[in-house]
């Protein structure tokens, strides 16, 4: 029994397709995943949300010895992010800082493994849409219409030949676009290792290592889980130069929500309870058991808030 609004979104998104969950549509999702892993490419894409656009150059180098991705954002705060098999390094030239995040074990192409594509069908109606041309590629549209208001809908456009994702649109329950990624220029094919070297020399820069490691955050749990969102990660890490924080990650296979838990003792900045937004991302902050709980997710505000409200601490004995 679909709530009225979600039905509306399903109709809006699933343009002209008789039946949802076609194996064909699921096959396209797998094709996109495959392409993301196996293809080398370099291109330029635009990220749009709330009337703003940011242009970035992205390069992916696939190699048996380990893949390397490089993202250079041309607008806003200058930043460059390089991801190798083990680490993500974020170079911030204006503040002369490199933020280093070493991957914990479960983070190789997280959550959306091939067998999980079928599991997505529990919460999204997946169907094929029209074909259209984007950045010189003929693309197949794949829509993921949410079955409830707790998650966003997505419209993906993938190259019919390679499966490379050219455009991704996130849509809310009203059918409005909340964010969009679109390649404006893309070349698929071998890339030299040189092209994924960071531009920044970073000599003498401050290094902020997140020191992320799997952990059990004893006593912390959700009083009720959000339908479809299961815990996928639990770790301790540092944020910037702050004290260690705990991070719990929940996901429905496509969207993810992180719960950050920071001890408050000794910190002077008060906890401002409430909701903040940025495009498709919502951030809800509240205080629980003398800790600041910050929930960050690419899910509608209602979901982020519900998870935040469900966070509780039961002193372990």
């Amino acid at each position: 029994m679909m709530p009225g609004r979600a039905l509306g979104v399903a109709i809006v998104l699933a343009s002209g397709l008789a039946q949802a969950q076609s194996p064909e549509a699921l096959g396209w999702l797998r094709k996109i995943q495959d392409a993301t892993q196996k293809l080398s490419y370099r291109g330029t894409f635009v990220y749009q949300h709330g009337g703003r656009s940011e242009t970035s150059r992205i390069t992916r180098y696939v190699d048996a010895g380990g893949d390397i991705d490089r993202l250079e954002v041309l607008d806003g705060v200058p930043r460059e992010i390089v991801r190798t098999r083990d680490t993500i390094r974020c170079y911030l030239p204006e503040s002369r800082v490199v933020k280093v995040d070493r991957r914990t074990a479960e983070r190789d192409f997280p959550a959306l493994l091939p067998e999980r594509v079928n599991a997505l069908a529990r919460h999204y109606d997946i169907s094929l849409g029209e074909t259209r041309r984007i950045a010189g590629f003929d693309c197949q549209a794949v829509t993921l219409a949410p079955k409830d208001d707790l998650r966003y809908g997505y419209k993906l456009y993938a190259d019919v030949h390679s499966g490379m994702l050219l455009k991704a649109v996130t849509v809310d329950s009203g059918g409005d676009t909340v964010e969009q990624f679109m390649f404006t220029q893309l070349a698929i094919g071998p890339v030299s290792r040189d092209m994924v070297k960071p531009r920044q020399a970073a000599r003498g820069w401050r290094i902020e290592d997140s020191a992320a490691a799997p952990a059990r955050l004893a006593g912390w749990e959700l009083s009720s889980e959000l339908p479809g969102f299961h815990k996928v990660s639990e770790l301790k890490r540092r944020l910037g130069e702050s004290r260690p924080v705990g991070q719990l990650v929940y996901s429905d296979g496509l969207a993810a929500v992180s719960v950050f838990i920071e001890p408050l003792e000794g910190r002077r900045d008060p906890v401002r309870t409430g909701l903040a937004s940025m495009g498709a991302i919502h951030i809800y902050t509240r205080e629980v058991a003398n800790h600041r709980v910050t929930v960050v997710g690419e899910a509608p505000a209602v979901s982020v808030q519900r998870i935040a409200d469900a966070v509780e601490y039961r002193r372990p004995h």
Partner: protein, 199 residues
Amino acid sequence: MSDREIDRQLVARAQRGDKRAFELLVEKYQRKLARLLSRFIRDPAEVEDVTQEAFIKAYRALPAFRGDSAFYTWLYRIGINTAKNYLMAMGRRAPTSTEVEADEAEGFEEGEQLRDINTPESVLLSKEIAETVNSTIEQLPEELRTAIQMREIEGMSYEDIAKAMNCPIGTVRSRIFRAREAIAEQLRPLLGTRKDKRW
């Protein structure tokens, strides 16, 4: 030269007696003003009449315009007053009032199109023109379409479009121009029947 400076120059010329300069401003802002006034007045023919009236009032008030605000901001206020007076003369109640954001008047438009739920569909007076524009765009070569959409819908500068499309600024300028010309070509038969020979 910025948009505001262009308007300033046209206003200056109009104030010195150049009526055609004022007509260029009419050409530029008529639809924007009509869209604003259609929030109060539902009948499309009435919207047009009131919009026309607002422009005439603006023209008459031009000597008093000192350039402290942008031209459109000033035009906007005149438009609202004209609509208000019209509604009162018709014996109709004006909608409830709250303070209007100054940046609405300044022509600030978010790239994300806000749903204007109060405006009736009947304001779409010449659907054929709108449809021709949009269908021509869909059939344009992709690089022309992307360029003009980034300019008009996303409001991006040539420099930002050049970055996004990874081409020189001159190429962006050329693509946008060629897109406009291609659409203008399709519109020619629709606009060619104008009785006005001055243009």
